[in-house]
Symmetry: C2
Subunit: 218 residues, 2 copies
DNA sequence: AATAATTTTTAGACTTATCTAAATTTGTTT
DNA sequence: AAACAAATTTAGATAAGTCTAAAAATTATT
């Protein structure tokens, strides 16, 4: 049996490790879980004993294949529920994350398979993140960050890195959503802010916005 | 903050107390929760301290108004999720209970209000049990148990008392579902079994079936 | 290479929910 | 009213997950 807490740690490690490819520090895990390093150490040991992770003292931790499977499955559930909330229950993209944090732990294969079918097998969640299929395969989008976009090229907004309410509401209030067309007009070297052309308006966004918005050439 | 375990105990007490009207014994609670009397005592004390229940040592417990509100809200969530699973995700009425036991603890007013609207404000769950509205009001059906039905009168099946998989699958395999028309042909005094007329067939059901099936005159 | 700073682990304590075994209270018989 | 039986509570332990404070290992700096 896997506990809810174990699932949350595994998911955090998966994200911190760049989808299970890199080693992760104890402090980074503690920070991500809003807990103390000593608690993270305890959990890392437990995950290691249960073969969800490989761990050598003082050397950080990596997810095993088993651990990665668990992580991907929780991410699948999280993102499917997010789609459900937005598509069927009138949630906005800044409201879904918290509820999905809980729904992702409901254990029922039939539930998630039927939900997937009910939503007509969506490939991306409301933040543009890919939804792994039943076998754990992601559909990868070839996206770049606004900060690296070229001047004068037409792009479409396809995702966000930061999914905080504050950032998503900032985008809302500036008329930026998934699918919005964006062209870079000017990149300001002084503060790395970017002037962009939207449908009817031109706006300037800060570097932190430019680093959290994903675009795709059209 | 209320814990998941507290919610489950409160719900159990609500059901055992005949919807919050009667006093409940420690042993009955322990039995319902599949735990030991000593554990039940501990939780009863805690619920009492938190004003979900009134409790005097050795005298059993009653839910307070606050406790009843919590219970009714969980029951509302449980039954709405059951409707969702059957209506939208192709679950059968014998598959929903276990998953709903978990979904009922997700805390989001928006989620449950939107789910209610999405399902078009259902009044009864897949087992015929009434779904309380947002204010906790039940829509009462005037139902009787098959064992007390009169011979020759036309009834409609409107609910079940036992929601176990075994019982529900028994009903399935005998062509009995919510909405099925039933007329009593004969009541056998020897073992209290009942011969009933369905659409095309006549079948004999045992006393335990007759006591768990609810009917309404049409 | 020695020392200092940082990171990580250990030790011991706390909380929630559970258990077993023993003690207490209540209810039922004689 | 005393004795017995049943129900309930208390006492003391355990497991999961957390914390603080101290110890140990690693990494960075001189
Ligand atoms: Mn999310
Ligand atoms: Mn998302
Ligand atoms: Mn149920
Ligand atoms: Mn039900």
């Amino acid at each position: 049996m896997i506990t809810l807490t174990e699932e949350n740690y595994i998911k955090a490690i998966y994200h911190l490790s760049n989808n299970g490819t890199e080693n992760v520090n104890t402090n980074a895990i503690a920070e991500a879980m809003s807990t103390k390093a000593s608690s993270a150490t305890d959990m890392i040991k437990k995950l290691s004993e249960k073969n969800y992770a490989d761990y050598k003292k003082y050397q950080g931790v990596t997810l095993t294949e088993k651990g990665k499977r668990v992580a991907v499955n929780i991410i699948r559930k999280h993102r499917l529920w997010e789609v459900f909330l937005v598509e069927k229950l009138n949630f906005t993209w800044d409201e879904v994350h918290e509820v999905a944090e809980h729904l992702e732990h409901i254990k029922s294969d039939k539930l998630i398979d039927e939900l997937d079918a009910f939503l007509e097998h969506p490939t991306h969640d409301p933040h543009g993140d890919p939804i792994p299929d039943k076998n754990g395969n992601f559909q990868h989008i070839d996206k770049i960050v606004l900060a690296k976009a070229n001047i004068g090229v037409a792009y479409k907004c396809v995702g966000v890195d930061d999914t905080s309410t504050a950032f998503l509401q900032y985008l809302d209030s500036n008329g930026i959503a998934l699918g919005t067309m964006i062209t870079v007009i000017h990149k300001e070297p002084y503060d790395n802010s970017v002037k962009i052309q939207l449908k009817d308006t031109e706006i300037v966004v800060s570097q932190s916005v430019a680093k959290n918005l994903y675009l795709k050439k059209v």
